[in-house]
């Protein structure tokens, strides 16, 4: 059965994945979808449309909502076959990684029917409106207000560090709907169309030079009460469920398929003796990272098979978020050492790839901040997994 499926998938991918989609993704050719998507490489549009038609941008979602309807085993096969052929992901999407899973769990039938297919097809791009200037790790202290007037919510306040807000169409937002209730009790989870005069997104520049995140201002922005997910003032539960998915997604951050393995880069760029890296201290640290990285990948694999056997993901996602992002930071530190002087050049000279690596190194520092800081993950593990008071 699964053998047949694998053969079928392989055949389909061979026939349908355009040639340039079998090469590593350049950052500027990444496809995030939405109304503002430009498809720098026209083949990426073809690739997205073909994959979306099969629902394989969200392989495990039900067919009724545009997904692939695959069983976990089948989705794994699809992933393996895509890796084998070197296929690019057809679509990168907060909708798929974060919003979709909670809509499937908490959305009404209409909400699922309206939003999920557009996510699968990459027609609407989503961003995440959680953090505020005064509410970061202490997310539940958020102050952005939403008041129900007739059958619309009127939203006022601001969000910050909203990744890709300026290129997104909709935002999923945590807002305060009852200022008099306890911190966690007065929060609702709602969806807001950003294409309206009451919503403004202003990019903020990162240390890596790029500006993928924004400050978002709401002034009398509106959304229909149909866009409330779950009960009024019952958003905290949903917020946490979404964070679990976000953390799981971030924890795989260190699997960037387009990079040459670090040890190969090191052997190209550093002195060697008898085919071995000559700097024993560096070699030991590289080996230690390599071992931890392998150990981590196996742990993800092991957890997946536990989850299939009914183990709930929950707090384990905190461990993966913590460990995966700390590993990614270690990797980039080692990579900078490997590159030496080349890693110092911002612009003007050197190789595009090396300059990008330096920017990625700077960007990696955010991995242990976004989606909840490493310290917050440690708190979660201590309390929820270890049961410490």
């Amino acid at each position: 059965m699964l053998q047949d499926f694998r053969a079928e998938v392989r055949q389909w991918l061979e026939a349908n994945c355009p040639a340039s989609m079998r090469t590593p993704t350049m950052e500027e050719e990444e496809v995030w979808g939405g109304r503002k998507e430009q498809f720098k490489n026209p083949e990426s549009k073809v690739w997205l449309e073909r994959m979306a038609a099969k629902g394989w941008t969200a392989p495990e979602w039900p067919k009724a909502y545009g997904g692939g309807g695959l069983k976990p085993q089948e989705a794994l096969i699809l992933k393996e076959e895509m890796q084998r052929l070197g296929c690019r992901p057809p679509l990168l999407s907060f909708g798929i990684w974060m919003l979709g899973p909670v809509l499937l769990q908490y959305g009404t039938e209409e909400q699922k029917k309206k939003h999920l297919p557009e996510i699968v097809q990459g027609k609407v791009r989503w961003c995440q409106g959680y953090s505020e200037p005064a509410a970061g790790s202490d997310l539940a202290s958020l102050q952005t207000r939403a008041e129900l007037v007739g059958d619309q919510f009127i939203i006022n306040g601001s969000k910050v560090w909203t990744s890709y807000a300026d290129s997104s169409d909709w935002i999923f937002c945590l807002v305060r709907t009852d200022p008099n209730a306890g911190k966690q009790q007065g929060i609702s989870f709602m969806l807001i169309d950003m294409n309206q005069p009451g919503v403004k997104a202003e990019p903020i520049r990162l240390i890596s030079g790029a500006s993928p995140f924004c400050e978002v201002f709401f002034s009398d922005a509106k959304t229909s009460k149909d866009n409330l997910i779950g009960p009024l003032n019952g958003g905290w539960q949903i917020a946490k469920a979404l964070l679990t998915h976000e953390r799981q997604a971030i924890s795989e951050i260190n699997k960037k398929a387009s990079e040459l393995p670090l040890e190969i880069q090191a052997k190209h760029k550093l002195p060697t003796r008898n085919g071995q890296l000559a700097d024993e201290h560096f070699r030991q640290r590289l080996a230690a990272w390599h071992m931890d990285n392998t150990a981590f990948e196996w742990t993800l694999e092991r957890e997946m098979s536990l989850q299939k056997a009914g183990h709930s993901p929950g707090a384990a996602s905190s461990m993966f978020k913590l460990y995966g992002t700390e590993l990614n930071k270690r990797k980039y530190e080692l990579m900078m050492e490997v590159s030496g002087f080349q890693s110092l050049i911002w612009e003007g000279a050197g190789d595009e790839k090396d300059r990008q690596a330096t920017r990625d190194w700077l960007r990696s520092k955010g991995n242990s901040i976004e989606g909840g800081t490493s310290e917050i993950q440690l708190n979660v593990i201590a309390k929820r997994v270890l049961g410490l008071p």
């Binding site: 071995q276 590289l286 080996a287 071992m291 931890d292 536990l306 201590a382």
Partner: protein, 373 residues
């Protein structure tokens, strides 16, 4: 992708191993060995019990009286042993010798040795290391003289020295390395007995013109470098598995203490500085479990990357068990420094196991070599 789930048989074995060590060899057993100056360090009756459960033959094929259950099964037993700090000859005789013999011995040697190991009649100690560190050059040599091998040299830190019926000695010959099975009573074996820091007995061995028949050489006259590498992998993974059990037990003891000990009017587990240290150790233990399971399976599969996986497992567990053991003492405060409390035994065992079959930097080097960087 490897199968990470346990079979029903494995689940049963896990439970019976846990019960066995909890009842027959709890940590206090180790304390008793030390306090009574027990010369053997391990009760022979317990070996019989293990044999009747099939454990001594767990790697041996059915034709030779074994269970042929493999390293995944042995791992469950070693982990349970590790939890109680029970140091058994399972490492030397089963993980080391029985695997070596099963793979390398000639038919006659298998006929005599494997059933005896499976039946619990023979305990075999390993005498391979020399000098002060694992992996140093072998200078003990064995010379063929008139149909006999004459062995001369010095071996360090032989575990189960007083208990063993036979000693498996690694020596240099005209045809590379060779393994020799030397009965404990052979003339010319000189033992220097001592106690390890955790109270167990062990010994250095010097071999003064020890004569054994040519048939004492395991397998053929071929160079045994490959079988030595395999034995190192098997024992490194076996030890790493014990260390996983031990580190997990120390972690759990410490976690329980953090919930119970009060200072400043609250449980000390309330303090975030301590919570974060425990949470970090928890993550390290989780990835440790993955590397141990993967390496155990690799030994069963004779995976092409077994050396990589074995060095990963032992290298990682060296660091993690050491971290857990030192943190455990620190988080216990003064009581952790007392001989009366068991937590100190975990630190001592960690020091011992870090040296046996290769330190963390030894394994990082070996891992990098195997991956060609």
């Amino acid at each position: 992708m490897m199968n990470w789930d346990m079979t029903d048989e494995e689940k049963l074995l896990k439970v019976s191993a846990a019960n066995f060590f909890r009842e027959k060899m709890p940590i206090n057993h180790l304390r008793r060995i030390r306090d009574t100056n027990d010369p053997l360090g391990f009760p022979r009756e317990a070996w019989q019990d293990m044999a009747s459960l099939g454990w001594t033959g767990i790697l041996i094929d059915e034709d030779h009286g074994g269970l042929n259950f493999g390293f995944r099964g042995l791992g469950l037993i070693l982990e349970a042993a590790g939890r109680q700090l029970a140091a058994t000859p399972l490492l030397s005789t089963v993980a080391g010798a029985s695997r070596l013999l099963q793979k390398n011995a000639n038919l006659e040697q298998k006929e005599t040795l494997l059933p005896a190991i499976a039946a619990g009649e023979t305990i075999i100690a390993l005498a391979h290391d020399e000098g002060q560190h694992h992996g140093q050059d072998i200078s003990t040599h064995a010379t063929l003289q008139g149909g006999k091998y004459v062995i001369q040299g010095r071996k360090s830190l032989v575990l189960d020295a007083a208990l063993a019926d036979q000693i498996l000695v690694l020596a240099r010959t005209d045809q590379g390395l060779g393994w020799f099975l030397v009965p404990h009573k052979t003339q010319g074996l000189q033992w220097e007995h001592f106690r390890l820091i955790d109270g167990r007995p062990a010994a250095h061995l010097s071999l003064q013109r020890v004569e054994v028949p040519a048939s004492a050489r395991i397998g053929t006259m071929k160079d045994a470098t490959a079988s030595y590498e395999d034995l190192r992998n098997a024992c490194a993974v076996g030890l790493a598995t014990e260390m996983l059990g031990a580190a997990t037990a120390a972690f759990e003891m410490t976690l329980a203490y953090l919930k119970e000990r009060k200072q400043f009017g609250v449980a000390i587990g309330t303090f975030q500085a301590l919570q974060h240290r425990m949470a970090n150790l928890y993550c390290e233990l989780e990835v440790s479990r993955s590397v141990v399971q993967r390496a155990l399976a690799a030994l069963d599969e004779d995976h092409a990357k077994t050396t990589v996986f074995a060095s990963l497992a032992k290298g990682k567990l060296n660091d993690v068990m050491h971290a857990v053991a030192t943190e455990s003492i620190q988080l216990h405060g003064g009581i952790g420094m007392t001989d009366e409390h068991n937590i100190g035994f975990f630190l001592k065992r960690s020091r011992i196991n870090n040296e046996l079959f290769g330190s963390a930097s030894f394994h990082r080097d070996r891992y990098a070599k195997a991956l060609e960087f």
